[in-house]
Symmetry: none
Subunit: 415 residues, 2 copies
């Protein structure tokens, strides 16, 4: 089954409201084995909606549309659907009763325009709406099955889950699209692409593809079929991806870098303390995202002023003077100082230039020094990160978390 998803509304086309329905419906359809060919978002004029419906039913077996079912004159989806199907609009008795009962239960009176919501293309079926006035519509247009749901989020979500998906599942049982996501940090996209080239071949089953965001690369592995048939295929591919990408893999599914670090801290029974300059508390804020981290995170210091670096973190004043705040020796002294102060297993130091001002030829905007100290010594690394201030800080925080992750993976700590 191939589906097209249609979102209807002036506020969506103009970007004033973000369309989250298309993605939600896509995931739901994909999960029951229906392939989504494309999404389209159109204005709420009857002509535009009719044209979009005609194009969609010509190419797809299933069209799922949202929006344009309200009582006001700019709600034209009923008219457009009837025109696309080449049938008249009739008043539907069930829909009229629903409206009357709805108003009665709330002590309201219905205006003439409300009864527009009782109109239905001839031959179409209604879909119940327990939380609003607009009933959904199920209609056959040409060879395609068309579902129309209201655009109001709470009404759409409930109608999709309780009515549309069950009707579709009954029509096509047993089939599902299952997705496994392997998350990586630190490998270049081109390298990942080369290492996984055979897995990523077009038309291969399972399908393997990559998506990049915030310096991380997610490898999505998915296939459609009977779940018990797909599971071993996905397991095999996930294992192959993990093997080939090695330490770059930090988790699966929704796992974040901070989750990996927190899990390793728990596993090692290790404690941590952070000294951050340019990231300004972002590493701490990310770690604190993880419930239960209070057992392992002892202290984080945003040592923005040099005095804070010296007094609270313990960076020697002469090191600061000799090398400047953004330097390898200062990053190392921050990591060692904050670790010693807290008697933590691990200390982190991050210092850099997030911009937009403050860069020089020698120390450009985006230069960041990282250091991780533990009982075995101190490791340091330098990166020149690109992007604006917010992006440089985000990337620096992720780099720091990944450095902690790799260090915690490789070492063991005394209880």
């Amino acid at each position: 089954v191939r589906a097209v998803i249609l979102s209807i509304g002036a506020e969506l086309v103009s970007g004033l409201r973000l369309d989250t329905h298309a993605a939600d419906i896509s995931r739901a359809l994909t999960a029951i084995g229906i392939e989504v060919a494309r999404h389209e978002t159109v204005d709420d004029g009857a002509g535009e909606i009719e044209a979009a419906l005609r194009a969609a039913v010509a190419e797809a077996d299933l069209v799922v549309a949202t929006g344009g079912l309200g009582p006001t004159l700019d709600d034209c989806t009923r008219e457009a659907l009837a025109a696309a199907a080449g049938v008249p609009l009739d008043e539907n008795a069930e829909a009229r009763e629903h409206l009357v009962a709805w108003a009665k239960a709330r002590g309201r009176t219905l205006s003439q325009s409300n009864f527009r919501q009782a109109l239905l293309p001839r031959g179409a079926k209604t879909i119940p709406n327990p939380v609003g006035t607009a009933l959904g519509i199920e209609a056959r247009v040409g060879k395609a099955l068309v579902f129309v749901m209201p655009g109001v989020p709470a009404e759409m979500a409930r109608m999709l889950g309780e009515e549309v998906l069950p009707r579709l599942r009954r029509a096509a049982p047993g089939c599902a699209t299952v997705i496994r996501t392997v998350r990586t940090y630190g490998a270049a996209e081109s390298i990942v692409g080369e290492k996984l080239a055979d897995l990523m071949a077009p038309k291969r089953r399972p399908h393997v593809g990559t998506a990049v965001h915030g310096g991380m690369i997610d490898v999505h592995i998915y296939a459609t079929g009977a779940p018990e048939e797909i599971a071993p295929l996905l397991d095999a591919d996930a294992a192959a991806v993990r093997r080939r990408l090695g330490d770059a893999v930090f988790g699966e599914g929704d796992e974040r870098l901070e989750d990996a670090v927190a899990a390793l801290l728990a596993k090692r029974r290790a404690t941590i303390a952070l000294a951050e300059s340019c990231t300004g508390g972002l590493v701490a804020a990310k770690l604190v995202n993880v419930p239960g981290i209070s057992e392992f995170l002892l202290e984080g210091v945003v040592c923005y002023a040099n005095e804070s670096k010296v007094r609270t973190v313990g960076v020697p004043e002469d090191v600061l003077r000799a090398h400047g705040a953004v330097s390898e020796p200062v990053a190392r002294a921050m990591a060692e100082g904050i670790r010693a102060r807290n008697r933590a297993s691990v200390g982190l130091g991050v210092t850099g230039i997030a911009g937009p001002a403050g860069g020089t030829a020698e120390k450009p905007v985006g230069l960041v020094w990282f250091a991780v100290a533990d009982q075995g010594g101190t490791a340091s690394a330098k990166e020149i990160l690109s992007g604006d201030r917010a992006l440089i800080r985000e990337r620096a925080a992720n780099y720091a978390l990944n450095m902690l992750r790799l260090m915690l993976m490789r070492q063991s700590f005394p209880g």
Copy 2:
């Protein structure tokens, strides 16, 4: 000018990732008077992209597409654009140089697949990308002008703002939709609605509407027409909104609470130091979002462990023992202690229970104590915030920033 917006990517069609680009681009185009006819989202196959491009250029004067410009084999937008335009792909010298320079600046070597990113449909122009390897493409296909940008959010945002919009503005000056946004914190939506009822009347010009997110209410004021005609209307409405909502207004447009706090710190020549427990560095991270804050933010301490509260922040041990970490006396001691330690004009203390565990009947999840200390004394406040762990922390950080803002507005500090 009529535009079609095209989003390309398997992860978008399947709903794995939410497409925010189409809405962002729509708003930007609408703002410069370009009518957006529709959005379409397609899979990343070359055939699908080519078909979507052909349909779009047949009906629109302008097509803005995102995605499919990466180095891997599933990135086919270049091929599809060349096919739709009926021209071959050539290696572009400028694009090749960009790739080589990019790799060199980062000490990386390019693999063969990277050079796919140097291919361009014959006759097309490149669009600079200062923050990534994928150059954008500007091409003419039939009668339509086509812009293609990378799907990576930070790269798209910058290329849209710095290159695509200026090129379009030069091509079509004149009419525009202008939006003024007045941002508020701390007033309930129903109260805002009542105070602005006459301004929010339907069909009024300018249109005035509200949008709620993260505890803040934005008041959008907008109208379409000649910019010089609209500007005084918007000015008058913005002034009325500010007058009626008073201290709840913290900024306009993109201004955030942290920008308002930073501006007041600069105006007062005041310095600040932060002691955060449950917010875990989020207040610091937000303040560090503001360029130049290093002049005013002396130190932030994430005092998660009680030992850190005592030793680094200076909370007396008996206060901690008597009242517990989440209590008014501890919040006040944190604010006063971190202020004294740094000899700052202002000290902030935040301590609470972000959950999901750790709540009791007396101190439920969501309970947060806030304190702000300055030379005139210490103010404290309690909130019981709702939401999950991340939302409670976000709301607590915003509450703290707003408390700082109100305090800095009302008081003056010695230089």
